[in-house]
Symmetry: C3
Amino acid sequence: MKQLVETEPGPSTAVIKDAWYVCSWSGDLRHELIARRIADEPMALYRTPAGRPVAMADRCPHRHYLLSLGKLVGDAVQCGYHGFTFDPSGRCTFVPGQAEVPRAAGVRTYPIVERDGVVWVFPGDPALADPARIPATPWIAEWNAVTGYARIGARVVLLIDNLMDLSHETYLHPSQIGTPEVAETPIETSSDGNVVRVTRHMLGVECPPFYQAATGITGRIDRSQEIAFHAPAFWALSVRIAPAGSSGTGFRSKVLHGLTPETAHSSHDFWCIVRESDRDDRSKDEQIVARQTAVLMEDVFALEALEAQLQRTTERVPEISIGIDRGGLLARRALQERSPKLPA
Amino acid sequence: MKQLVETEPGPSTAVIKDAWYVCSWSGDLRHELIARRIADEPMALYRTPAGRPVAMADRCPHRHYLLSLGKLVGDAVQCGYHGFTFDPSGRCTFVPGQAEVPRAAGVRTYPIVERDGVVWVFPGDPALADPARIPATPWIAEWNAVTGYARIGARVVLLIDNLMDLSHETYLHPSQIGTPEVAETPIETSSDGNVVRVTRHMLGVECPPFYQAATGITGRIDRSQEIAFHAPAFWALSVRIAPAGSSGTGFRSKVLHGLTPETAHSSHDFWCIVRESDRDDRSKDEQIVARQTAVLMEDVFALEALEAQLQRTTERVPEISIGIDRGGLLARRALQERSPKLPA
Amino acid sequence: MKQLVETEPGPSTAVIKDAWYVCSWSGDLRHELIARRIADEPMALYRTPAGRPVAMADRCPHRHYLLSLGKLVGDAVQCGYHGFTFDPSGRCTFVPGQAEVPRAAGVRTYPIVERDGVVWVFPGDPALADPARIPATPWIAEWNAVTGYARIGARVVLLIDNLMDLSHETYLHPSQIGTPEVAETPIETSSDGNVVRVTRHMLGVECPPFYQAATGITGRIDRSQEIAFHAPAFWALSVRIAPAGSSGTGFRSKVLHGLTPETAHSSHDFWCIVRESDRDDRSKDEQIVARQTAVLMEDVFALEALEAQLQRTTERVPEISIGIDRGGLLARRALQERSPKLPA
């Protein structure tokens, strides 16, 4: 892996704008204004009374006040400073003190798509916003899903590194999902440039507390992890847990993360856990949310410490990569191909 | 107004030093040291035992310790670190460990003038500090005055924009002073380069809560607003409220703001409300202060949000201006003529 | 002193790496990881089970996670993110998921020496780390010593300025150790480039509260202060207090400071007070620590205010120096000779 080390660029702070990003779970977007920065674009998000999601630039074209601090008037946004009003297409429909509305007074809106309970937004060039490029997520609507959110004060690639190399579970999350076998078991990786895959199959291993609680299994298990990273912003882990040696389908679930850059140094993590079994049983939801949140807070702590360390470090220090990093390095390459060029 | 948009420079962070600024209300300056940054000049302010106000650079020439952290010894300032002592003219009168005081050990003092209960300071070139250029404020001494102060974490021009366009009252201050007619009524503007005037006359309109409380009038009123902005740092609003159609002088008051830059991104707002009627009746003071503070806190919130937005925005985004902005744009021009040139 | 002013560079932010620095008192270093930045080098400090102190770069070579957030496994450090493990020499002994450990996976360790209860580290070029250059401190082991620590949000040269000119005791510490005579009494100074000395002998003067408590003497005293600053990082003040006119050795003590830059704008202050008399009497320790802490907090307040002032000041303002500054200016010169060149 030594050659990889020499040529890899380290954890980039580049922000990719030309991509579909999760900006909200459907249930969290209502007829009220939310301020959210997506890929360095400040947005005011809301849902119209008819239910349509809207993503509007969070800056009034008049004096640049934050539209998210204004109020909704029907399906329009009224600026809270001087009353400039914009319809869901961004067209200005009212200005104070005069009848004529200047044509230039419109505000940018962003392509937005809602599907399977996920709200996706495209902060970049709208000509490139092809909804066909949004990853398929049918199980969020079809299976039993719980969702959550965390803001992380770290560049998004650190979160991607984290998720592409699950051997960290053994060291960072030993009380919930890490067992020695995760770090010990070799992985297989592949990439077609758009989707990076990492798989790990563990046979006859210990069942960690997180999955004991979700499945009721306490003995030895066969456990597989199949990661599909849809560059640059969506990560899906398919998990299969079954009693060791059993040939059934076992317990199937997916852990999903919408990985959305906020700024060059901070990220949104929209996570979702879906399970195929007990599809209409909500009794385990609360415990799953609590355990997932506990795991995620360990990641947030680690990634924010790492981001702070990187920002304090002025010199360029190379990274050493080994076998477990193959997935993460493929993911970084997929990001790099999509990244704007930073000043040298 | 489109052409104005193209040529206006947006909300500048330039700090004008060659101007008289309010640095304190008379009643707030006592025989004790206050640290206050005025137009990016750190000053130690105090009043001598004889009552004379002093503005001294807040930096000991020895090792640059803050003189405002020292103590007053008679009418002199003794540095709290090594005891260097300065008289009100800034002359050094004592250094430790030796009899001879180096001639270079003096500290800068700033031209300062007290008039009508206002303390003005000139942070720039003292050769330009002509007291004749201080705006006349006789009613502060003659009428019934209440005063207050707020620090605002926003560049001073945002506060000036705010005050030059009172149509924002309708949207930002609807519970105290904004009524729909403020935004709807056309304004008249003029400028002679030193004073920018904006006037608005509203006939037979609703009386907002702020003026109901101050005047006791609850029915329809005639209401006039006459703004005089004395560039770059003093703003006076003359208000007349009278029962609709009445020909008397009605209730006359003035709202005054000393608009003093602290740094390129923060300001001091010294405000004063004077009313001609009930000149010796202090019974309404408390309520007027409370209501004015409520209004001002809405402005502080909005302007600090806007300043933060501007600082996060790296690209240059043009502003759209309309009729209500004529006064603000004339004020910005008057500032621009007085501003030091910023690096391009 | 005017010429000195013209040529002195002001309080530099240069960080000298090629020096021995105190990084801990022996009693504060245990078998647990401590994160500490020494001369801008982030270090993970710990003691092995056998008692040997270790200073390791606080950055895993794999993905740069902070090793101080990991855990100790015997005498080795295990990274808390992916389990990379390093022995006390910095050699990597384990990586996850593969048997072969890449040779490049080692981590830097720093020369470290423990002597007389002091742990010294050398953050710069190890070829220059000659233990013979560590100042001799036999009285820490032989006399009665109390130790303490403060982090100061100020560049280290401000702390050195402070300690080299004790006339500030009169103004900043009047309630504990300052009396008028400290500022009034002339000093003698000398420097051989490595050690800067400042001495002051006061005869028949008042005994300040700090020394009344330590010695029990309340009448007039002869008091001498002999400073030896071992550039760039160790300061020793030898104090002799005796009843005025007495010829005995009196009360002898030393105040010691390990002056360790943390970053260009912050410092560690490891202080120690040793007294020759009542060598085995710990009854006064608590009071000495309390009084020294009170004095030090006055210094911390002043130096952090000064650092903030310097950082806010963009223009270069010259300093005026007088006789009391001779020691401090010699110390600054000794630092300057050892400093890396800053960009002009």
